[in-house]
């Protein structure tokens, strides 16, 4: 949940590009066309994030409770969820670096959380990749 750029920064970047680059440009410029596709994709990511983030935050909170111990509920104010998850992730980072998840069972539990986190990030950033991984033949 520490991914940068943030949602608002992504939208800002796409908007800046479209304002500054696309509007005055002529059609048929290959590089600009590519960049515009990227900008479009950025906006799609932002849309998916807006749709999926609440569910991802709830799931992350529950996983962090299980990993760090405790049954603390998320903050009452929903705007405080993201910073609260960031604080707990920083706690988790320190614990990992201190070796608190080195034992096999703890390591497995941590790993499952990390993979779930990466999968959630890709549900927002690149769901097509997740789909293609499901149908891909075994790697050689």
């Amino acid at each position: 949940m520490l991914d940068r750029p943030t949602l608002s920064e992504l939208i800002e970047a796409a908007r800046e590009h479209i304002e500054i680059g696309v509007i005055p440009a002529v059609k048929g410029d290959g590089k600009l066309y590519f960049q515009t596709l990227v900008a479009l994709n950025v906006l799609k990511i932002a849309e998916r994030e807006i749709a999926l983030r609440p569910a991802h935050q709830r799931a992350a909170w529950a996983r962090l409770n299980a990993l760090l111990g405790g049954e603390s509920p998320p903050p009452a104010d929903h705007d405080a969820w993201e910073p609260a998850i960031a604080v707990r992730s920083a706690d988790l980072t320190r614990a990992i670096r201190d070796g608190a998840y080195d034992a096999p069972q703890a390591r497995r539990a941590l790993f499952d959380h990390l993979r779930a986190t990466a999968v959630e990030a890709l549900e927002i950033a690149n769901p097509k990749l997740l789909d293609s991984l499901k149908t891909e033949p075994p790697g050689q």
Binding site: I96, F111, L114, N126, P138, Q140
Partner: protein, 340 residues
């Protein structure tokens, strides 16, 4: 780009440089920017030099450098010259200009190489089907030559600190990169600790091209024509280069063919072993592929930081920040396969 010199300026200044520095009778008949990397400017140059028509490529520094450890144009030129002399398939380097005042950045000229570099085309174009049949052996043979090049003249090549293995040095560098970005997440902390525990010891330390992958090799219907982008060359473990080439991101959508979306990995590794005469530790190659994903995941965040910090406002760089998760998932899946 605002810092790009005009076509006319390139033509006149380049002709003057070649006349003054090399004493050549030069007419530049064409200069056209090529789609290039984020930190280098590339131009196709057509010229008549001492009465001979020449097709050339100009490679020029931009004011911003993507990665600080990259070679200068002078060093890249020197290395490519030696590689060319050793029979490695690289565009022949021709003239170097270290003076940034001529074209706004150091540059060199090399022969134009025919072929296509765009990764998704190399892995999928029907016209390149024959090329894909011969590429695994060609790439293996070229890597064997690169890893055998005498590096003694090239003291400028980045190398692991004394006492550190290439793997341990690479892990430390990635920690430092992430700390500098304030981006050490649980995933990076876990992956880098795992990588440090499992860091392989190299059987030998050699020249490493440093960005040897589909997308950086020129391919025509008959196969490999030229290996490009030598700026990340360094000294390291040959297994690094083999694992890097096999990363998912360089398979361009043909995910099950681990060697660049073109062939299974094992026949490629066997061709490499046959070409160089050394056996390859498969576990070390696995480790370097996983580590390559961790590092590329971190570099994606670094690229996004160029946008976020204001040095290089770009929607492309911004979007790279969100590509990091692709490499993070790939690293985690690789770690699980190798054993947590």
């Amino acid at each position: 780009m605002s810092d790009a010199p005009s076509v006319q300026l390139v033509q006149t200044r380049l002709a003057a440089f070649l006349r003054d520095a090399a004493g050549l009778d030069v007419t530049i008949t064409g200069a056209q920017p090529l789609a290039g990397g984020a930190s280098r400017d590339m131009w196709r140059i057509d010229a008549v030099i001492d009465g001979q028509p020449e097709r050339l490529v100009l490679r020029r520094d931009l004011p911003t450098q993507m990665i600080d450890s990259a070679l200068s144009r002078e060093h890249e030129f020197a290395l490519m010259t030696a590689a060319f002399a050793a029979g490695i398939r690289v565009a022949r380097p021709r003239w170097l200009c270290a003076d940034p005042s001529i074209l706004g950045g150091a540059f060199f000229l090399m022969d134009y190489a025919d072929g296509i570099a765009i990764g998704r085309k190399v892995v999928s174009l029907p016209d390149l089907a024959d090329a894909r049949r011969v590429l695994p052996a060609q790439l293996a043979e070229q890597l064997a030559r690169i890893h055998a090049l005498d590096v003694r003249p090239f003291g400028f090549l980045p190398a692991p600190p004394p006492g550190n293995s290439p793997a341990q040095a690479a892990v430390d560098q990635t920690w430092a990169l992430l700390e500098g970005l304030n981006a050490v997440t649980p995933t990076f902390a876990f992956c880098l600790r795992w990588a440090a525990e499992r860091a392989p010891s190299p059987a030998r330390v050699t020249l490493i091209h440093g960005d040897f992958r589909i997308g950086n090799v020129m391919v025509d219907a008959a196969g490999l024509t030229a290996i490009a982008d030598w700026e990340f060359a360094h000294l390291g473990d040959p297994a690094e280069e083999l694992g890097y080439l096999c990363m998912r991101d360089w398979r361009f959508g043909v995910g099950h063919l681990r060697m660049g979306g073109i062939s299974p990995r094992e026949p490629f590794l066997q061709a490499y072993e046959a070409a160089c005469g050394y056996s390859v530790d498969r576990a070390a190659v696995d480790w370097w592929e996983i580590f390559g994903n961790i590092r590329w995941a971190a570099v994606c965040l670094g690229q996004a930081a160029r946008h976020l910090g204001g040095q290089d406002r770009s929607v492309e760089l911004a979007s790279l920040g969100r590509r990091s998760a692709e490499m993070q998932l790939e690293a985690l899946n690789g770690i699980e396969k190798m054993g947590l």
